[in-house]
Symmetry: none
Subunit: 214 residues, 4 copies
């Protein structure tokens, strides 16, 4: 990577790429269109990136780095699991609102198939999976989490809900779907509160409490 481009211009190019790839995936985006959006010529794209795929990967890296920074920041603050969940929800809500195309790009790559899909998943989800594993391990040790559930499945469902939350704030389809369920234009605070309620019970309820109810 050469260095005549200012950091701002570099970011602008990557953001233009992210925007374009996020729209319709790798094949739908055109290099000429991306260059136009970034206010540069195609030549520049090919000076800094070997080809379309390499540029796509750079966009992906850029996008995921931003997301990871958010996750790391939240995770850094030691806290109870429920507070952690609340902070995570708020963090992802604002990230999704501020950088919707990053999430959309993330959603795009989940279309991948074959070995590439496996590699991508391991590279991307591995980070989150490890983050959550650490958090949940601490939570279980501290007695903040019920003991009768396999923590791995628990983390899986937790992340599933967060992923869908992100998509619902970023992707047009999921946003429309959210509106169908929860009404259009509900405030984010309500979503946070309701999701926390949903999670809280899953966090704390032990199986026998249910079994013994009359």
């Amino acid at each position: 990577m050469l260095k005549k481009l200012t950091a701002e211009k570099q970011t602008e190019i990557l953001e233009a790429g992210i925007e374009a790839f996020a729209q319709g995936g790798f094949h739908a985006a055109g290099m000429a269109d991306i260059a136009r959006r970034a206010g540069i010529s195609v030549g520049v794209l090919y000076k800094y990136y070997e080809n379309k795929e390499a540029f796509f990967r750079a966009c992906l890296r850029h996008s995921l780095a931003a997301l990871e920074r958010v996750l790391a920041e939240v995770t850094a603050r030691e806290d109870k699991l429920l507070h952690y969940a609340g902070q995570m929800i708020r963090a992802l809500q604002s990230f999704s609102r501020d950088h919707p195309s990053h999430i959309r790009l993330y959603h795009q790559i989940t279309n991948a198939s074959g070995t590439i899909a496996r590699q991508l998943a391991e590279e991307i989800e591995g980070v989150t999976a490890r983050l959550y594993t650490a958090v949940i391990a601490r939570a279980q040790a501290a007695g903040d989490l019920r003991q009768d559930m396999d923590p791995r499945f628990f983390a899986f469902f937790f992340d599933n809900l967060l992923m869908m939350l992100q998509f619902s704030y970023s992707c047009d389809y999921y946003r429309a779907r959210m509106a169908l369920y929860c009404g259009a234009e509900q405030e984010e605070g309500l979503m946070e509160a309701e999701l926390l309620k949903f999670l809280e019970s899953a966090f704390t309820l032990e199986q026998h409490q249910i079994d013994h109810r009359p």
Copy 2:
């Protein structure tokens, strides 16, 4: 759409299209490739469908019809909410296993943006949303569901978990992700049990139960 093709041939063509579109999205699929897979000539494709997009929509309709049939079947059986959830999980697990490309195609269309996304979401998710609304209304009336949660949000989270479940059984990326969380090659029964445990607590717990715990 003319009607000279036998129903079997029509289905074969649509299945070929679903398979192709599911793989890499609208742009990656080629009409010639689809025709070859279906054992027909491109001319036939263009005789029965105006263009690629119209054919794509037909594939989508075909795919969603199958999914709706499954949902309708499960919903038809009057049952307790938890049993309903269990049946739904099993139904979606087997549908995902048997027709992965239908789910993958479904996942592809969630990439849509703009007005199209809104229309699609309303057309597709409206069905599910209405199904769930009915089920949950019945459940709340029967006292099977906690009263302190907005049922719309509840239905939303419930469906979110089911959607992710389908993707996890159909899309390579999500399958790899599931393996990262829950281990590779776990049996479907285990997933069903754990998800039910997760849901059950969310179904039944009233807020004060948590507050009063010592």
Copy 3:
């Protein structure tokens, strides 16, 4: 190779390619231009040939096949070496006149470098080299050829003169050069006669004949 194209059209395409490649070599020729010359669309070129290089090779094969046919025809007629040379000269003169771009293409490929050059030379010149070896072996056995020269070198010089003759009748540069030496627009018969005189002495003279001259 598909078969919808008539043999004539196929030949027309190859001739257009030969013409184009002969002009300025592989890089200077454009596929769109070739298609236009052949009266077809670029798509056809790429339906019948994998890519530009494959098409180039097909042109080369076509071109060399025609040249080989001429050589084989002349060689088939059993004859004295000098008559053979005369026939060869006349055959190459008329071939060069009738198909100048074939020879020009042949000249172009002699620009090749590296392993490709070696492979091409072996593939193309091997034929001629073997033809000449056979002819010269017969000539030496029959006493038509002086004994004091290594027949391999002899064949080499003989072919060198024939190659330059072909180029001189086909390539603009060599034609202009020939005009500088021999005058513009001389008749082909004169060239044949003079070259035969030149060769005849090389064929027949034994070394001692020169040494013993007073």
Copy 4:
């Protein structure tokens, strides 16, 4: 052409260009690549040469000047024709060995077509043709050359053999071809001897000598 570059740097640039153009012809060579090889920036190339073609012509001029110097040097030494031929062969052998890309570039330009080809041929071959004319005129006057051949044709065949000799020592294709005929890695002295034998008979034999043989 400005004159701020040292003569050494100019030569280095031209040699880099010759090397590049000799490899794959005008179109295959890249200006950026040439600049890199010469250790300068493309800007310098375009400061001293109007465009690629002008630079190509400069390379050609530089290359031919070197070749002409060799020819002139050999021709300056008054000598018998056979000795002259021997010296010429040796001079071209060593020039081809020491500056193969000069010869390769020379070979490249023989691809030219149209008016350019004619102009180039007159400019380049005119020198040689005039040199040879002078030499042969002297030889005929001195009785070193047979009288029954048109000296122009004779000079033509003589130069043809020398051209092919140069190509055979410089261009990969012709080198491979020479190996096919004469065996790989034969020493240059042998080639010289055999070619001289071939030429000697052509030089000296009178037609009637052949006719009267029993």
